[in-house]
C-alpha cells in the first residue's frame, strides 16, 4: 500500500480499506478543529482511548479525530456512527458514561444531546440538527468523517478518484473546459471565473509555471479555509494536483498564515502521505505528469493575502503589492505564469471533475454556481461554518440555520466580506446570496465571513473597528491607503468620541472615493466599504453622533452613561459582583446604586443583568447628559 500506486491500485486500495473496516461495530468521531481543540478536545480523545482500552473494546470500536464539524457553537462535538448520534458540549468527564451507555448498551445519554433553543426539543441524530438540515454540504461533507492525518480515510470515501479520472481520461484542455463550464468562481473574495484564470495561465508561454493555494485567510472572523485545511487537506491537495496538470505547472505552493499551526501540521502530514502513495512527486500514479507541493508560512500580515504581495512574500521580499499589468497568470512567482486560487476554490475542483460541470452548475444561481462556505459568527445562536448553495437567502442562513439572534435583542445588520465588505440591513434579508446581488447592495461576497449584529451594535463604531484594522494592516506603500485610511480612522474616532463636526460625513465620503479610486491594491480599494455601506443604510446613526452627540445603540463610551432603574432592580447583586471598579453598590434586595464617576462603561453589569428574565433591563445605558465633570476630556 505504501510503495506508490498506479490507477488500478488506488481502486484496489480503497476496497481493501473498506474491507478492513467492516468489522467495526461503532465509530466514534471527535471533532479535532481548532475551536473544539481549544475547548479540551484532546483531553476528550485521550479519555475515549483509555475508556475503550479499559472496557476492552479495541477492534470493534474505532476512535477517530476528525476535521471541523462546523457547528462550533456546540463544541466539543462527538458523533457516534453508524447511528449518527450527536453529542455536543462534551467534557472529558462525560466520556466513560458515553462509552458504557451508548457504545456498549446502545442507550442515549439525554443530557448530552443538542437542544434547539426556545423549542426545548432534543435532537438525537446529526442529520436532524436544524443547523445542518438546511445546509448543502458538498465541500465540507467529509470534514466530520475523516481523520485528516490518515490518507486512508480520504481514499475510503472516493478520495483521489477525480485525479484518476483526470489523468486517465482527460487532457488538460478537457479539465479547463470542465471548470469553465461549471461556472466556478474564485472563493477568495473577488469571484473571478476560475476556468478563465486557468485558461490564461495555461496559454502563457513558459516552461515553468506555478500554482498557489492562498490560505492566508486574514478576515477577522473567517475560518473556513482553516477548517478545510485542518480537516480535509487532501481535498485541497487533490484539487491542486488536478489544477497543476491542467495548467502545466511543475510545482504548487500552499501559503498558510502563520497563525494556523494545526493547519500547517495537517497539511504537511497529508503531503507526506500523498507522496508515499505516489500522488505527488515524480510520475503521479505512474503517469508522465510530475508535480510537487510546498508549504510556505506567512509572517503575520493581512496584506500578504493579496496575490502580488503573497508572491513577494514567497520570494523572500517584503509583502508589498505591485500594480498589474502584468497579471500573475502572465508573470507571477519569480516572473513565471502563476495561478493563485483560494483554498475553497481548490477544494471544489475534485467534486466538479468527479460529478461533472452539469451537476455543479445546477446548484446556485444564474451567475454564481455551486455552494459557498460561510463562517457565521456574531450575535447568533448557532455560530459555526455553514455551507449553502449560492442563492440561499440571508434570512434562511441567519434564522433557519443560524437559529436567529441570540438573547433578547433584535437583528440589526449582517456584515459580509469582512473588512472589505459591507453591512446589509434587515429589509434586505431576503436577498439571495450571490456575487452580483451582494455587490449591488454595496457589499461583497468576500471570503465568506458573515458577522451578525444586533441592536446593541453601533454601526459607526463598527465602521471604525474595520477601518482601524485595514489601516493597521496597510502595507504603507501608496499614499491613498496609508494616509487616506489614517484620516478616515481619525474622523471616525472623533465621531465616536462625541467630537464629530459638521461636514465629517462629506469628508468621509470624499476620502472614501479618493482611496477607492487610487489605492494600488485591493486592500486599499475596499477599505472604505464598511464606511460606505454603514453610511448608506445607517446614515441616521452618524448624524445622531455628530449632531446630537448621541449613540443610538448606546455603545460609544463617551456618549453614554450607565444607570440603575430603581423600580426594576431586584437587588440580586449580580452586577455588583461583575463590576470591576466597584461602581455599583447596594445591599441585597434593595435597589442598587451606580456611581458614574467610577463607571468605565465596560458593559459587564448590563450583560449580566440582561440575562435575568425577571429583572430585565434594570441597568440602562442612556445618552450622556452634559455633565461638567473632572473626567471630561
Amino acid at each position: 500500500m505504501n510503495n506508490g500506486l498506479n490507477f488500478r491500485q488506488l481502486e484496489e486500495t480503497k476496497a481493501q480499506i473498506l474491507l478492513s473496516r467492516a468489522a467495526w461495530k461503532s465509530s466514534i468521531t471527535v471533532c479535532g478543529g481548532t475551536g473544539c481543540h481549544a475547548q479540551g478536545g484532546t483531553k476528550i480523545v485521550q479519555a475515549f482511548r483509555e475508556e475503550i482500552k479499559n472496557q476492552v473494546l479495541d477492534g470493534s470500536v474505532e476512535l477517530r479525530t476528525t476535521g471541523c464539524h462546523g457547528f462550533c457553537e456546540q463544541g466539543p462535538i462527538v458523533v457516534i456512527h453508524p447511528e449518527g448520534i450527536f453529542y455536543s458540549r462534551l467534557k472529558a468527564e462525560d466520556v466513560p458514561e458515553v462509552v458504557t451507555e451508548t457504545i456498549v448498551n446502545n442507550r442515549i445519554v439525554e443530557r448530552l444531546l443538542y437542544t434547539v433553543p426556545k423549542k426545548k426539543q432534543r435532537i438525537i441524530s446529526e442529520k436532524d440538527v436544524p443547523f445542518y438540515q438546511k445546509q448543502k454540504r458538498v465541500v465540507f461533507a467529509h470534514n466530520g468523517l475523516i481523520d485528516p492525518t490518515d490518507i486512508r480515510d480520504y481514499i475510503a470515501l472516493d478520495g483521489y478518484q477525480a485525479l484518476v479520472k483526470t489523468l486517465q481520461a482527460m487532457t488538460p484542455e478537457d479539465v479547463i473546459a470542465e471548470i469553465k463550464a461549471s461556472g466556478l468562481r474564485g472563493r477568495g473574495g473577488a469571484g473571478f471565473p476560475t476556468g478563465r484564470k486557468w485558461e490564461s495561465c495555461r496559454s502563457a508561454v513558459s516552461d515553468t509555471k506555478y500554482i498557489i493555494c492562498n490560505a492566508d485567510e486574514g478576515d477577522p472572523g473567517a475560518f473556513m479555509d482553516r477548517s478545510l485545511l485542518e480537516g480535509n487537506p487532501h481535498s485541497v491537495i487533490e484539487g491542486m494536483i488536478i489544477g497543476g496538470y491542467a495548467m502545466g505547472a511543475s510545482a504548487g505552493y500552499i501559503y498558510v498564515r502563520l497563525e494556523y499551526p494545526i493547519a500547517v501540521k495537517n497539511v504537511k502530514i497529508a503531503l507526506q502521505q500523498a507522496k508515499e502513495y505516489r500522488l505527488l512527486g515524480e510520475s503521479v500514479l505512474g503517469s508522465d505528469f510530475s508535480f510537487d507541493i510546498h508549504v510556505f508560512q506567512g509572517a503575520g500580515a493581512f496584506v500578504s493575502g493579496e496575490e502580488t504581495s503573497l508572491m513577494a512574500s514567497i520570494e523572500g521580499r517584503r509583502a508589498f503589492p505591485r500594480p498589474r499589468p502584468p497579471f500573475p497568470t502572465q508573470a507571477g512567482l519569480w516572473g513565471k505564469p502563476t495561478s493563485i486560487n483560494n483554498v475553497e476554490t481548490w477544494a471544489n475542483v475534485p467534486h466538479i471533475i468527479a460529478r461533472g460541470a452539469d451537476w455543479y452548475s445546477s446548484i446556485g444561481t444564474q451567475t454564481s454556481k455551486g455552494t459557498k462556505i460561510f463562517s457565521l459568527v456574531g450575535k447568533i445562536n448557532n455560530t459555526g461554518l455553514v455551507e449553502v448553495p449560492m442563492g440561499t437567502t440571508l434570512r434562511e442562513i441567519i434564522y433557519d440555520i443560524g437559529g436567529g439572534i441570540k438573547g433578547r435583542r433584535k437583528f440589526k445588520a449582517v456584515q459580509t466580506g469582512g473588512p472589505s465588505g459591507g453591512c446589509i440591513p434587515e429589509d434586505m434579508l431576503d436577498l439571495p446570496i450571490d456575487y452580483e446581488t451582494l455587490a449591488k447592495a454595496g457589499s461583497i461576497m468576500g471570503s465568506g465571513g458573515m458577522i451578525v449584529m444586533d441592536t446593541d451594535t453601533c454601526m459607526v463604531d463598527l465602521a471604525r473597528y474595520f477601518l482601524n484594522f485595514t489601516q493597521e494592516e496597510s502595507c504603507g506603500k501608496c499614499i491613498p491607503c496609508r494616509i487616506g485610511t489614517t484620516q478616515m480612522v481619525e474622523i471616525l474616532t472623533r465621531i465616536t468620541e462625541g467630537k464629530g463636526e459638521e461636514g465629517d460625513i462629506e469628508r468621509l465620503e470624499s476620502l472614501a472615493k479618493t482611496i477607492k479610486t487610487h489605492a494600488l491594491c485591493g486592500l486599499g480599494q475596499t477599505a472604505p466599504n464598511p464606511v460606505l455601506t454603514t453610511l448608506r443604510y445607517f446614515r441616521h446613526e452618524y448624524e445622531a453622533h455628530i449632531n446630537k452627540k448621541s449613540c443610538p445603540a448606546a455603545v460609544c463610551r463617551a456618549l453614554v452613561e450607565y444607570r440603575v432603574v430603581p423600580d426594576r432592580c431586584t437587588g440580586c447583586q449580580r452586577c455588583v459582583a461583575a463590576c470591576p471598579t466597584g461602581a455599583i453598590t447596594g445591599p441585597r434586595a434593595k435597589a442598587h446604586n451606580l456611581d458614574p464617576t467610577k463607571c468605565i462603561k465596560c458593559r459587564a453589569c448590563y450583560q449580566v443583568c440582561r440575562r435575568d428574565a425577571i429583572a430585565g433591563d434594570a441597568i440602562k445605558i442612556v445618552p450622556r447628559r452634559e455633565v461638567t465633570d473632572a473626567r471630561d476630556a
Binding site: 496597510s474 504603507g476 506603500k477 499614499i479 494616509i483 470624499s510
Partner: protein, 843 residues
Amino acid sequence: MREMPESVAINVDGKLLTVERGVSILQVAQKNNIYIPTLCAHKDLTSFGGCRMCIVEVDGMRGFPTACTTPVENGMVIRTDTPQIKTERIEILRLLLSEHPSSCLICDEKDECRQYMGTIRKAGVTTGCRYCPKDGQCELQQVVEASGLNEINYPIRYRNLPVEKDDPFYDRDYNLCILCGRCVRICKEIRGANIIVFKERGRHTLIGPAYDRSHLDAGCEFCGECVSVCPTGALSEKANKWKGLFDREQNSTCAYCGIGCQMRLLIKEDEIIGSLPAEDPVVSNGQLCVKGRFCVTELVNNHRRLKKPYKAENGNKLEIFWGEAIELAAEKLSACSPELFGMLVSPNCCNEDLYVAQKFARVAMASNNVDTSARLFYGPGFNDYLNLMRMSVPLSDIRKASTIFCIGLDTRFGRSVVGVELRKAINRGAKLITVHPRHHNLAIIAEKWIQPVPGTEANLFKALASLTEKDRRGKLPPPSEGETGNFFEELSEVAGMAKEASHPVILVGSRYLSCNDSPQILESIAKLARNINAGVLPLPAHNNLFGSILMGAYPEILPGGFSAGNRNKRDELKTLWGTEVPNFSPVWTADTLLSGFRTKVLYLIGEVPSRNPPPSDFVIFQNIYPPDSMFEADIVLPSTAFTETDGTFINGEGRIQRIRKAVHPRGEALPDWEIICRIAQKMGKSGFDFSSVFEIHEEISRLVNGFSDFDNPERKAGRLACEAELLSPQTRFSGDINVDTEFPLLLVTSIVEHTYLGFPLSAWVEGLRPLFAEGIVDINPEDAERGKIMEGDEVVVTSPHFEKVLRARIMKAQPQGILDATVDQGESLVPNPTPVRIRKKDV
C-alpha cells in the same frame, strides 16, 4: 543579429506616436517632453507605483492607472492632463501633505518670504520649505507648485520622528520622508548593499536600516546614492546642507585613489559645494565611494587651506609675497649641490606637475634625487607591485570573470565602486574567493574566505601558486617550507577552483602591501596569475601612481618609463632638455631620507614624509595645507588642489583622465607646476617657460605615448610600460617574528592609505574619523580583558625594536592574539607583523 524591438502606435493627448513595445507610458512621456509629475519613479530604478502622481487616463482601463507601471500596447489612447486628473492629483497631494511639513507650500507670503527670510532656515526643526535644506531643490515642492494646490483641508499631523544626526556625512529627517522608496531601491538594485529597508506598516511605516541599527553598524558604505535620489529634504548632506542650489557643474576625475572615478563638481559662487558621480560607462558607471562623494567639499574648503606663502624664522611665521618666496627658494636651491638636494613629489599630483618636478630636479638641480612617497608605502614590494601593474587588465574584466580573487581587499569604504561590480558579478553567478586577515565586507558574499594568520601569508600564496602550476602532477607533498596554517586542504580546493575558472581576475587591495613579506606575496600573486591566465587588477591607493612612474618621478626611472641607465633615452632627453641627464648613482630615495641622511635643501611637493622634522638644513614645503601640526618648514608655498587646476591623472588601468579647473585657487595659491617653473626661472634655468598646463602636456607627449589629446583624452586602458627596475630598499628588518612569553601578541601594522598630498583625509574631514580610525590599535575583547584594557584607553605597545602609544579599540571581530594598527608612512620602519606586548599606559 539584434532583433529590432517591436514598435507600437499609441495616442497620447491627441498626438500619434510610434514607440518601442513594452516601455512604460511614463518613459514615452519623458522621451517626448510631455510633463507627467513623479515622485517615486526614477529612470535607473524599477517602478514602484506608490506615490500615485503619474496617474493617467487610458481608454479601456478602469480608474487611473499609473504611467510608471503601465506598459504601452498597440492602439492605446492615453490622456495625461485632463481637468479630472488634475483634481485627483491635488487630492492625493493633499493627503501626502497632511503628513509632510507643508506650511510654506500654501502660505500666501511664500514668494516674498523666500527673498527675505534666508536666516530662518537653520531653525533646527523643518516645519516648512523655508526651514528645509532642500528648499528650491525639492521635487515635492516642484510637483506641488505645478499642480496648482493651494490649500490642504485635512488635519495636519507632524509625525515627530527623530532627526537622525549621529551617523557621518548625511542627516536623516524622517518627518520629511514621503516613503517613495527610491533610497531603498537604489541601495538594493544599483549598489547591491541592501542596507535600508521599509520597516513596520500602516501609518507607522518607516525607512531605515533593519532592527534600528545605525547606518554605521548596518554596513552602510556611505556612497551617498540614497542622498542623491531623495526627492525631498529627508536625506541631506551635512557639508552643504544650507548652501542651496549649485550655479554650475564641472566634470572631473577623483583624486583619492587609483580607480579614478568620474565626478561632477558642484559649484556655487566660486566654491565647491558638492561632488556627485558622473555617468561614465568606461570606469565608474555613475558611482562614487564615500571619499569621492563626501570628502571633496570639506577637504578643499577647510579654513586651514594655505592661501599665502610664508617663511619660518626663529620660530615665527611671517607671511611674505610670492616674489620674496620665490627668491628665497631660488637662492637656497642655487646654493645647494646636486648630491645634497632631495625632492619628494606626491603620486597624487597630476602628470604635468610630476613631469615638471622631475625635470626641475634633473635639469635645474642637475640632481637625480627625486622620489615619491609611494616608495615608503610599497616598501620592499614596490618592484613586485610594478610587475603586477605590467599585467593589469581593465576593471570591466570583472564582468567576464567566473571566478574572482580578492587579496587583502575590503571595499566597504575606499574602492566601494569596485565592490558594486563584485556584487553584480556574484548575482550573475560568479564566485568570489577572498583572502583577508579580518572580517571585511567581502566575507559575507564570498564563496570562500581564507583568513591566514599574520606572518604566514607568503607561504600561503607560494603554495597556492605552486598548486596551480599547469604541469603539476600527483599530490603536493606536505608543506616543508614553513607553515601554511590550517589551510592546506582549503588551498587545494581553491587551487582547483582557480584552474577551472574562465577569465579569472585577481584584485589586489592594500592589506598585504605593508608586510615584511610583501615582495614574496606579490611575486606569488604574479605567478598565480600566469598559471591560471588571470587578469590582474592592482588597485593602487594613489590616484596617479601610474602617472608618477611614466613621468619618471623616481631616481631609477626616466620619463616614458625608461631606465635611468638607458643610453638612448638619456641622449634623447639631453637633446630635448638641453642638459645632460644626471648620473644614476648613488641613489637617493625617500628611504634614504627617512634613514637620517641629511640634505641641504629638501623640496617637498605635496608630501609629508613623516610626522617628525625631516633631516634637512632647509625645507621647502609646497602643499595645500600647512605642516605645522607636525613640524615647521623653512618656507611654505601654497599650491592648488585638484579642483582648482587642469591636468591629467593616469588611473590603475592605465587610462589617462582629465581633471578640470572648477574654481579659482584659494587666496594666492598657484598650481605646483607654476611654482616650480617660477623658481627655476628665477634660478636662471631654461626649459621652464611653460605658460599653461597644455604646453607641459605637449612636451610630455613627445616622450610618452598616449598623451596626444589634452582636452578629451582617449581614456584607453593599457598595461604599465616601464622597463626600469626599482632598487630594493634596504631590508628594514630581518629576524624572528614568532611570539613568545615576553612578547605574546602579534602586531600587524598597515600604512594609512586614504591620504591626499601627504595628509590623511580624516585630518580635514571629520566624518571619516569613525570610518578610518587612526592612532588606534584594535584588540580582541579577551586580550583586552587580560590586560584590563577598556575602550579608549591609551596602551603602550612594546616590541623588541620599538615602543608606541596607541588608543585601544575593542573589536569582537579582531582575531585573538593579534593586534591591528594603522600607522603613518614614516612610522613604518618596523617589522610587520611583529611580536609585542601591551600594557595600559599609566596615567
